[in-house]
C-alpha cells in the first residue's frame, strides 16, 4: 500500500500539470462549442453591471467615489463566485455520463480532471471580467491607480474564483446530479455575495453582521480589488485575500481529490 501511495505522489508530481492542461483544453473546446452557453453566461453579468449602476446607482451613497467605480470590482467578484459554481456542475455531469470512469482508469494524475476543469473555469472568468470592465468603461468606470493595479485587479478575481472552484468541486463530486450541484451552490454563494461589500458599504449593516461581512473572503477580495482600481492602499485586504485563498485551497483541494478518487 505504501509503495502505491508513493507511486501516486510521483505520478502527481510528474504528470499533474500536463494532464491538467489536457483537460483544460478539453473543457475550453467544450465552452467554445456551446456558444449559446457562453453568450448567456456573459450577458448575465453585463446585465448586472447595467442594472445595478442605473437602478441602485442613485440610491446608494458611496461617499466621494462614483457608484460605478465602487460597484464594478464588486460585480466582478460576484461574477467569479457564480462562475465557480460551474466547476461542480461540470464535474457532476462528468460523473453522471461515466466520463470520469474513463479518466480514472487511465494512468493520469488524480488531480488533473478537477484541476483542468478549474483552469478552464478560471479562463472563462478572466474572459468575462475583461468584457465587464469594457462595458463598465462605456458607462463611466475609470481606473485611478497604477498600470500594475489594472492588471492585478482581474487577476485577483481569477485567484478568488480558483479557490471557490475547489469548494464547488467538493460539492460536484458529492452529489448525484448536475442540477443538484447547481442548486446546492446557491445555498453558500448567496449569503457570501450579499453579506459583503459587493453592492453596499458594510457600515449600514447591523453590528453583528458587520463583523461577518468585514472578515468574509468576498469583502476582503472586493476591498483589495477596489484599492487596486482606485489607487488606494490595498496591502491589508490583499494579504487577507491571499490568506483566504491559500486556506480554502489547502482545505478543499485535498478533499475534492479524495472525493474524486472514491466516487462510485
Amino acid at each position: 500500500m505504501m509503495t502505491d501511495a508513493l507511486e501516486v505522489l510521483r505520478a502527481e508530481a510528474r504528470y499533474g500539470l500536463v494532464d491538467a492542461l489536457q483537460l483544460w483544453k478539453r473543457n475550453l473546446l467544450a465552452y467554445r462549442r456551446q456558444p449559446d452557453l457562453l453568450v448567456f453566461s456573459t450577458i448575465q453579468p453585463v446585465m448586472f453591471v447595467l442594472l445595478f449602476a442605473y437602478v441602485f446607482g442613485g440610491a446608494i451613497q458611496t461617499g466621494s467615489i462614483a457608484y460605478i467605480d465602487f460597484l464594478l470590482p464588486g460585480i466582478l467578484v460576484q461574477t467569479v463566485l457564480f462562475g465557480s459554481t460551474q466547476t461542480g456542475v461540470g464535474l457532476a455531469e462528468d460523473i453522471r455520463s461515466g466520463m470520469i470512469d474513463r479518466y480514472r482508469a487511465l494512468p493520469m494524475a488524480r488531480s488533473a480532471v478537477i484541476a483542468g476543469r478549474i483552469l478552464a473555469d478560471a479562463t472563462r472568468n478572466l474572459f468575462v471580467m475583461v468584457l465587464m470592465i469594457g462595458v463598465g468603461f462605456a458607462i463611466g468606470f475609470r481606473f485611478h491607480g497604477s498600470v500594475a493595479g489594472v492588471v492585478a485587479m482581474p487577476l485577483l478575481g481569477v485567484l478568488l474564483g480558483l479557490a471557490f472552484s475547489w469548494i464547488s468541486a467538493v460539492i460536484g463530486t458529492s452529489v448525484k446530479r448536475a442540477e443538484t450541484a447547481q442548486v446546492a451552490s446557491f445555498v453558500w454563494i448567496f449569503p457570501l455575495v450579499f453579506v459583503s461589500s459587493i453592492f453596499v458599504p458594510v457600515d449600514t449593516m447591523p453590528d453583528w453582521l458587520q463583523v461577518v461581512a468585514e472578515n468574509s473572503p468576498v469583502t476582503r477580495a472586493v476591498n483589495a480589488m477596489r484599492g487596486l482600481a482606485h489607487g488606494t492602499d490595498a496591502r491589508e485586504p490583499l494579504l487577507w485575500t491571499a490568506g483566504w485563498v491559500v486556506g480554502i485551497v489547502t482545505v478543499f483541494a485535498p478533499l475534492a481529490v479524495w472525493r474524486y478518487r472514491t466516487v462510485t
Binding site: E7, A105, M108
Partner: protein, 336 residues
C-alpha cells in the same frame, strides 16, 4: 520475476467480495483468464458483472479477496495496472463535445504519448474502426454504434494487455450489435485477452472461449458453451402438437420419459423436456404419444439454448429482472 509474470494468466481473481450497504454485489468470485482468450461473464442485471469490472479496472476497491491484472495487484498496484488495461462499455464514455479524433488524441495524451504519436495512433484507430469519415464531427451526434466503436477505439489506444468490455452491445440496435461482434471477433483473433460482460446468452456463445455464469454475486457455472449445455443433461426433446387440446396429454408423456419437469410453450403448442440418451428414447416417446392419441405436428431432439441452461442452473430465466429486448436504450449509469 519478469519471466514468472509472463507465465501467469493475465487475469487472476480469487474470492472477490464487495457489498454496497446491505446488498452483497460480489460474494467470493474467482476466475482466471488465459492469455489470448475471451472470457464471457454472463448474468442478468444486478448479478455483479459491472462491479467486478470496476474492481478489476481499479475503479473500486473490493471488501475482500484479491485480483491480479497483467501481473499486478488491482488494489495495491493501481498505478502499474492502469497503463496495461483498456476499458470500454457502459463503465466508460466518450466526450460528446469533442470530435472523434479529439477524443482519441486526448486519451492518447493522457497515456502520456508524445503529440505526434498520439495523432498517428488516433488516425490508425479511426481507420481501423471505420470512423475516419466522421472523425471531425462531434461524438455527441454519432449513432449508438459509432459511439461504441469510438469508445472501443479509445480503450485500445495504449495497446492494453487486457481489455475489459462492459456490456459492449447493450442499447445498440441489431445492426450495431452485429458490427460490434465483428469488431470484437477481430480483436480476439488478433490475440487480445478480453473480459466481456453480457446479459445476452447468444452474445457469450458467439464471442467467448469460456463462459462464467454469475448470479447474485456468485459464480454458478463455468466452462465452454458446449460444456454448459451438456450440464443440463444433454439434449432437449421437443414435441409440437397439431391440436392445442392435446398439449396436456403430450406433457404427461414427456414427464414420464424425460429427466425433469417438461416446459410447456402454449403459444407455440410445444412441450420440451431434458433427456439423456435422447436418440434411444425417441422411438418410445413417439409410440407413447400415439397410444395417448396425441397428434404430432413435429417432434425432434435439439441442443439446449443457453437460456435453458441458465434456467436449469439458477431456477429463473436469465432475463427475468430485465425483460426488455436487446435494443432498449439505457438511461444513466448502473452499478451492478
Amino acid at each position: 520475476m519478469q519471466a514468472a509474470r509472463q507465465a501467469d494468466p493475465p487475469v487472476v481473481v480469487r474470492g472477490i467480495r464487495k457489498s454496497f450497504g446491505d446488498v452483497q454485489a460480489l460474494d467470493g468470485v474467482s476466475l482466471t483468464i488465459e492469455a489470448g482468450s475471451v472470457l464471457g461473464l454472463l448474468g442478468p442485471n444486478g448479478a455483479g458483472k459491472t462491479t467486478l469490472v470496476r474492481i478489476l479496472t481499479t475503479l473500486l476497491d473490493p471488501d475482500g479477496g484479491s485480483a491480479a491484472v497483467a501481473g499486478f495487484d488491482v488494489q495495491r498496484q493501481k498505478t502499474q495496472v492502469r497503463p496495461r488495461i483498456g476499458l470500454a462499455g457502459q463503465s466508460a464514455a466518450v466526450d460528446g463535445t469533442l470530435t472523434g479524433r479529439e477524443n482519441l488524441e486526448m486519451v492518447a495524451r493522457l497515456y502520456h504519448m508524445p503529440r505526434r504519436d498520439a495523432a498517428a495512433r488516433a488516425d490508425a484507430l479511426l481507420r481501423r474502426f471505420d470512423l475516419l469519415e466522421a472523425a471531425e464531427r462531434q461524438a455527441g451526434v454519432y449513432s449508438g454504434g459509432m459511439r461504441r466503436r469510438l469508445d472501443l477505439a479509445a480503450s485500445l489506444v495504449a495497446d492494453p494487455q487486457v481489455l475489459f468490455l462492459d456490456e459492449p452491445t447493450t442499447g445498440l440496435d441489431p445492426h450495431g450489435r452485429l458490427e460490434m461482434w465483428a469488431v470484437i471477433r477481430e480483436l480476439a483473433s488478433a490475440g487480445a485477452t478480453v473480459l466481456l460482460t453480457t446479459q445476452y446468452l447468444e452474445e457469450a456463445d458467439q464471442l467467448a472461449d469460456t463462459i462464467v455464469v454469475i448470479d447474485h454475486g456468485k459464480v454458478i457455472a463455468q466452462g465452454t458453451a458446449a460444456e454448459l449445455k451438456s450440464r443440463t443433461g444433454g439434449e432437449f426433446l421437443t414435441v409440437r402438437v397439431s391440436d392445442l387440446a392435446m398439449l396436456d396429454g403430450a406433457r404427461r408423456v414427456l414427464a414420464a420419459a424425460g429427466d425433469g419437469e417438461p416446459v410447456v410453450d402454449a403459444a407455440a403448442g410445444a412441450v420440451s423436456v431434458a433427456v439423456s440418451n435422447g436418440a434411444a428414447r425417441l422411438a418410445g416417446v413417439v409410440r407413447d404419444l400415439d397410444a395417448a392419441a396425441v397428434a404430432i405436428a413435429d417432434v425432434g431432439l435439439r441442443q439446449p439454448t443457453l437460456d435453458e441452461v441458465f434456467l436449469s442452473l439458477t431456477g429463473h430465466r436469465a432475463a427475468s429482472d430485465d425483460a426488455a429486448p436487446p435494443g432498449r436504450p439505457r438511461r444513466g449509469r448502473r452499478r451492478a
